[in-house]
């Protein structure tokens, strides 16, 4: 700041400019490292406390190292069934939402039709509404129609908030797509369905996979919308919520760490492959 504020002589400004450049280069790097430390600190706490051996029911202070939480990861009543339910919901919701979302993305990018603008808005709205409103409005629908809350209401809720994410992900890939490839296939005698199967689908497959993974990740992490529409069924985040009221057991950290490691590994492999590819290209 002082470099601008002080109207200095030429050589002084040169000195301050050099100092500013030095500070800027290094302060930014140091700051960024501190920022990443801050970002990763809670994750480190989750991992470390998964090995804690708490004496009371609160897993807040470090008491001693143990493998037991990992060995008996399902030693807490209800934790295993909550994970199973979360996995079932995430799997089904991501499959259905990605199928519906891919179809919408194809229609939006490929065709001009009446109602295109309002379709875009309809896709955008669920992304921009606060989660509590999505959960609450779905709750009033089910309440007023006397629907029994449980597996199906959770599944419907998850498909609902996943669709828009799937549309946005697949759309991004379709926009930069070379249509000549499809025209070539048609010129060579393929019909519309064959072209879609043999040309379009393989080309957008990475985007479909990305949409599936994104929906899966969002679904398995969702608390708010599920909380409003779960009845007495308990997904893993709901289990954590219930456990937090009476002191969460270290097994919660075990599952949290496991989910983190799996997700991170998948992403790391993806990034490293990209880095190797871009290195090979240059």
């Amino acid at each position: 700041m002082s470099t601008v504020a002080v109207p200095a002589r030429r050589e002084r400004r040169g000195f301050f400019a050099a100092a500013w450049a030095f500070v800027k280069r290094h302060v930014l790097t140091v700051y960024s490292i501190l920022f990443f430390a801050y970002l990763l600190l809670p994750i480190a706490v989750v991992v470390v406390f998964s090995f804690n051996n708490p004496t009371g029911k609160f897993n807040y202070t470090w008491q001693g190292f143990t493998w037991d939480n990992w060995r008996y990861w399902d030693g807490v009543p209800g934790i295993r069934s909550s994970i199973v339910l979360s996995l079932q919901i995430a799997l089904l919701a991501s499959l259905v939402a990605t199928a519906l979302g891919t179809a919408i993305a194809l229609a939006l990018v490929r065709y001009s039709f009446r109602g295109r603008a309002s379709t875009n808005i309809l896709i955008f709205l669920p992304l921009s509404a606060p989660e509590i409103v999505l959960g609450a409005s779905l709750l009033t629908l089910f309440l007023n129609l006397n629907v029994v809350f449980g597996f199906w209401t959770i599944l419907i809720a998850h498909i609902m908030f996943c669709i828009s994410f799937a549309v946005v992900t697949v759309k991004a890939r379709l926009v930069g797509f070379d249509r000549h490839l499809e025209e070539a296939a048609m010129d060579l005698g393929a019909n519309e369905w064959t072209t879609f199967q043999k040309v379009t689908l393989p080309l957008i497959a990475p985007a479909i996979l990305a949409a599936l993974l994104l929906c899966f990740a969002i679904s398995i992490d969702d608390f708010v919308v599920t909380y409003f529409n779960s009845g007495n069924r308990i997904t893993f985040p709901l289990f954590v919520w219930g456990a937090a009221r009476i002191g969460a057991p270290p097994q919660v950290n075990v599952i949290g760490t496991a989910i983190f490691v799996i997700a991170l590994t998948a992403m790391l492999v993806n990034v490293l492959v990209q880095m190797r590819r871009s290195k090979g290209a240059t």
């Binding site: 897993n59 065709y111 509590i132 549309v167 937090a244 950290n253 997700a263 990034v271």
Partner: protein, 288 residues
Amino acid sequence: MNLFHRHRGLTPYLLLAPGILFLAVFFVVPLGFLAYQSLESGNIDFGYSFTWEWSNYWNALDNYRAQFIRSLEYAAIATALALVLSYPVAYWIAFRGGRWKNLLLLFIVAPFFVTYLIRTLAWETILSDNGFVVNTLQSLHILGPGGRLLATSTAVVAGITYNFLPFMALPLYVSLEQIDGRLIEAAEDLYASKLHAFLRVTLPLSLPGIVAGTLLTFIPAAGDFINAQLLGSTNNHMIGNVIQSKFLEQTDYPAAAAMSFILMAGILVAVFLYARLVGTEQLTGTAA
């Protein structure tokens, strides 16, 4: 092009129908039910009836004004903090990241790989009364001997800031990454200092990212109740806590529905004021 002309009339609608129908039934229709419920009177035991009960709205505003204001206040502070904290890092990755960019971005989104509730519980551990942070602040006399961080607004705002930080950092990075480095060089040739070049070129060019990041952080933050529940006390409860407890514990559906709409209205007003501040082109630019 013939592929897309042949069944132009029907194909797009067939592709759209299942997904749009699903969103209509389970997103649009429920909002209608929510609106309807918000104007009902009665209670869970004797049933509800639709009576244009506008007093639900006025009562909600009267009784929970503090929570409404607190929600917008916490969300605004957390959004501003997230912007200030993550801008330098987004800048650093965009201009200094080199071929490590993707790896560094992975670190930015790493918190998302830990279940939301679990990472908030981790903050509960970090800020707990006998924890390292509180002890350090006490020995520095920043906190008094009995001072605590949990159950304060500081803890809640810190939790919200942390939890939505990637929503701010990613759009910032995207807009900074797109800036042509030659523009900044030219500015540095023309303006006297790097700071001026930053203020007059880099910052304005990154405005779309600032706008997108602000909205992506502010909207979910204003509706959040998890941080206030786990890191705060009842004195720090936000409107999300009230809506949640009215719906699921007190089964006072009309009041809860009315509050949901007031929350949405509050967010819309805040976004509108923000749009007036930064210019509408920026806002629609991110929406498109």
